[in-house]
């Protein structure tokens, strides 16, 4: 199997709340024979903050990353940039689009790049890990890599906003299914739920109810998601956005108090779930960084009972049972 290495753009949250995502992403990609090489000296994508100040500068931030990626990609590998944080993914895609158009903006960006000795030819395409897993590595290879099928685990995939909006490059913006297909490939049971791409209220406020502008709004939106996932029988919610994950995971205690309903929904990253199915060491998947991660017993004991599966008391998996489980603020 030839090994392909992609340029990886971790984004600022990889050092912080999204650390487990990056760790598990590296582990799973390596397990699937695909390399990730961190883009040297990458800069912040500008998120949605920079467009709120200056649109051209926001494009320029991402343009530098794209140009660096193209310049430093060895000839044998694709110049594609894999961005895991969906905010970064959207920002980079937007810059890629702006650079590709024949508009005054594009000329301005190219001239600015030239001023610091960079050039962008359009070879580096912005990709999301879900896209790579699904369309480059492929479901077959993923199925082959599974050593411990997560049979009977009901998984609600949460796509967040910017994975499929506004650029629906590999999935449907209204009813995305790419994560569900990956979930099914590792033997788990995808839960179909209508809120899978509805805003969690957290990403835009970088930190949800902690420092967000409107704690109430964020709590209500996140609560609606978690409640719906649990109503549809999900054992776990997985996502691919560092901020969504933090937002959904971290404030369940507060939400329970605020809305008067008990709430204890395990949340984590899609790649962590996949890594468990592939038998990857739990520390490498960053499971110890999660607050309330656990999978139901059936995941370990094999096939689920046929027919209507009775709700079981979920059992803890891995070293993730944190002493402070549920004790947020």
């Amino acid at each position: 199997m030839t090994t392909i290495t992609y340029t990886y753009y971790p984004g600022c949250s990889a050092e912080g709340v999204g650390r487990a995502f990056t760790e598990s992403l590296y582990a799973v990609f390596e397990h699937l024979g695909t390399g990730l090489r961190e883009l040297e000296d990458w800069n912040c994508c500008g998120a949605t903050a920079w467009p709120s100040v200056d649109q051209s500068q926001a494009y320029a931030l991402s343009a530098r990353n794209l140009a660096l990626a193209e310049e430093r990609a060895p000839g044998a590998d694709p110049a594609d940039v894999v961005a895991s944080c969906t905010g970064c993914y959207r920002a980079l895609l937007k810059a890629q689009e702006a650079l590709g158009a024949s508009t005054p903006t594009s000329d301005r960006l190219r001239n600015a790049l030239a001023a610091i000795g960079l050039d962008f030819q359009g070879r580096a395409r912005v990709r999301h890990p879900v896209d790579i897993l699904l369309n480059e590595i492929g479901l077959d290879r993923i199925r082959e890599a599974v050593v411990r099928p997560l049979q009977g685990v009901r998984v609600a995939s949460y796509y967040g906003c910017q994975l499929v909006r506004p650029f629906a490059t590999f999935d449907d913006p209204r009813n995305p299914t790419s994560m569900d297909r990956l979930v099914a490939a590792v033997g788990a049971e995808p839960v179909d739920w209508p809120l899978k791409a509805r805003c969690c209220g957290g990403s835009c406020y970088c930190g949800g109810p902690v420092i967000g502008a409107m704690p109430e709004a964020t709590m209500q939106l996140s609560y609606a998601l978690l409640r719906e996932a649990s109503k549809r029988g999900a054992d776990v919610v997985v996502t691919i956005c560092p901020l969504c994950e933090f937002n959904l995971e971290g404030f369940q205690g507060r939400m329970a108090r605020r809305f008067g309903h008990p709430l204890d929904m395990p949340t984590g990253f899609l790649t962590q779930l996949m890594g468990i199915a592939m038998g990857i060491d739990e520390t490498r998947l960053g499971l110890h960084r999660l607050l309330r991660w656990r999978l139901p017993e059936a995941a370990e004991s094999g096939p689920a009972t046929a027919g209507g599966r009775p709700r079981r008391e979920p059992a803890a998996v891995g070293a993730s049972t944190h002493p402070e489980g549920g004790g947020d603020a």
């Binding site: 500068q57 931030l61 790049l113 001023a115 906003c161 909006r165 835009c204 930190g207 960084r289």
Partner: protein, 224 residues
């Protein structure tokens, strides 16, 4: 938090909070206080006829805002419209009418989560999210953004940090924000910070890139 209190309305998306009765009609026992209604009339002289064109020129595809049929799809797909002082639809209508003053003072662009649901669903393909960003730019430029509202403060803190270091560090951003808006939160959320730290999810080392001069040169060049 006074701002939050102003913004919080009943969100149709979720359960009514416990203890709050269902809205019902009927005889009230207590007389409600009379409140003067804001003068809603608009004289043509108060309106800026070029405002819509100004916004349209700011955004790729922005000219489509002239084609808005006021169907309200944007407002109803918006997860946050319940918290906005003007729904996205009204904001577009007022932009088109030239109600510049109301629009640039509106909280709506700052409440927007950039989830792009409106942009995807708009039957006239109006780039509504990008228009929100354009309105934020004007409101920052003209200092019309809502006071003590964290989003504009954070936006500026974030941009400053990246201009300076090339990357952001969540912990430092949060710290700055607390200090500038509500230092009491620093105490309230200390437990969360501690937990994140123990989980290794609170980066405290302030990241910075090598090509800082290069990045500043780029930003300068693109604005030239």
């Amino acid at each position: 938090m006074p701002v939050d209190a102003v913004l919080t309305t009943r969100d149709p998306e979720v359960d009514r909070p416990p203890g709050r009765p269902a809205p019902r009609s009927g005889n009230r026992t207590k007389r409600t206080k009379w409140r003067p209604v804001k003068d809603q009339s608009k004289f043509e002289a108060q309106l800026d006829p070029g405002f819509a064109a100004e916004i349209a020129a700011e955004v790729e595809g922005g000219e489509r805002l002239h084609q808005c049929i006021q169907c309200g799809t944007c407002s109803s797909v918006c997860p946050l419209s319940a918290y906005m002082d003007l729904t996205p639809r009204r904001l577009i209508a007022m932009t088109r009418a030239g109600a510049r003053d109301d629009v640039v003072h509106s909280m709506t662009p700052w409440v927007c989560a950039s989830c792009y649901a409106c942009t995807v669903e708009c039957p006239k393909q109006i780039p509504i999210t990008e228009i929100m960003h354009a309105l934020r730019r004007i409101s920052l430029r003209e200092i019309t953004y809502p006071k003590r509202f964290t989003t504009p403060v954070m936006t500026k803190a974030f941009v400053d940090m990246i201009q300076d270091r090339g990357r952001s560090t969540e912990s430092w951003i949060s710290m700055k924000l607390y200090l500038r808006t509500n230092p009491a939160l620093l105490v309230k959320n200390a437990a969360i910070a501690g937990r994140l730290f123990r989980q290794g999810r609170l980066g405290v080392r302030r990241a910075r890139i090598n090509g800082r001069d290069e990045l500043r040169a780029l930003l300068k060049a693109v604005s030239a």
